[in-house]
Symmetry: C2
DNA sequence: GGCTTATATAAGCCACTACTGATACGGTCG
DNA sequence: CGACCGTATCAGTAGTGGCTTATATAAGCC
């Protein structure tokens, strides 16, 4: 399942948000999700499985419980996919921070018009 | 349709990548997509419609053709959603660029409220 | 050991989404 | 005007994903 498909589900996004706050047990996640979305425990468990399988979450047993945590790699992939678009809304940032982190790829960018990008060569 | 659902489809992601290179006509997009994915013209048109409806693309008629272009707002929403996770892989950046941008953005919002995307303050 | 808790899996159902072929509709050109 | 291009829409269909209920497995506790 592609990263964007995984994030396509609101329950999974919410779970990731929860995990962003730190490790949580399956049960703890389940409580919140059941409350907010009104779905069953197996449903949550299935979402956790998807997150595991797609690399968005890691698990660590603690007695009978399972501690889930965020894994950043797939999220970074998503972030990377956004990169070519980011210049549309943050040209100055491009020159400042993001640019720094990713290596400059945007020499050809003009920053005198955010709306005005280069006409694709028609080939 | 939620932004992440829109991006969940590989064809739509590809179309956005194409449009990131500059405006293209429906036909031009169609040619590439048909070649790469082997789907029909109506299928591409339907994807373009989804992109339109969800705000990811804008259209501009030019004679009998339709010129499509990327609209950045929904992509920025996605970017914003990623923010709380970004610290996992770019802590220094957080302090340097992204954080700065968020701060400034929030600042501008407070200042002249030009934007209306979810600031995340709701929790 | 036997009951309870914590979590995962299995099977079946339903809704949704993306596709195709057919068709409509406006613009262009001879 | 009429034929044709470029694009969008419609109707129908197949596949997929997420949900539920029922059940399995493992750990904790008396």
């Amino acid at each position: 399942m592609h990263a964007f498909d995984v994030l396509g589900d609101p329950v999974r996004r919410r779970i990731l948000e929860l995990l962003a706050g730190g490790e949580r047990t399956s049960g703890a996640v389940c409580d919140v999700i059941r409350e907010e979305f009104g779905i069953s425990q197996p449903a949550v468990s299935q979402h956790l499985r998807v997150l595991r399988d797609s690399g968005f979450a890691s698990v660590r047993p603690q007695g009978a419980r399972r501690l889930y945590a965020v894994r950043h790699e797939p999220l970074r992939d998503v972030d990377a996919w956004l990169d070519p678009f980011r210049r549309f809304w943050a040209p100055h940032l491009d020159a400042l921070g993001t640019e720094l982190a990713r290596g400059r790829r945007a020499d050809r960018l003009r920053d005198d018009g955010e709306d005005d990008y280069d006409e694709g060569s028609a080939t």
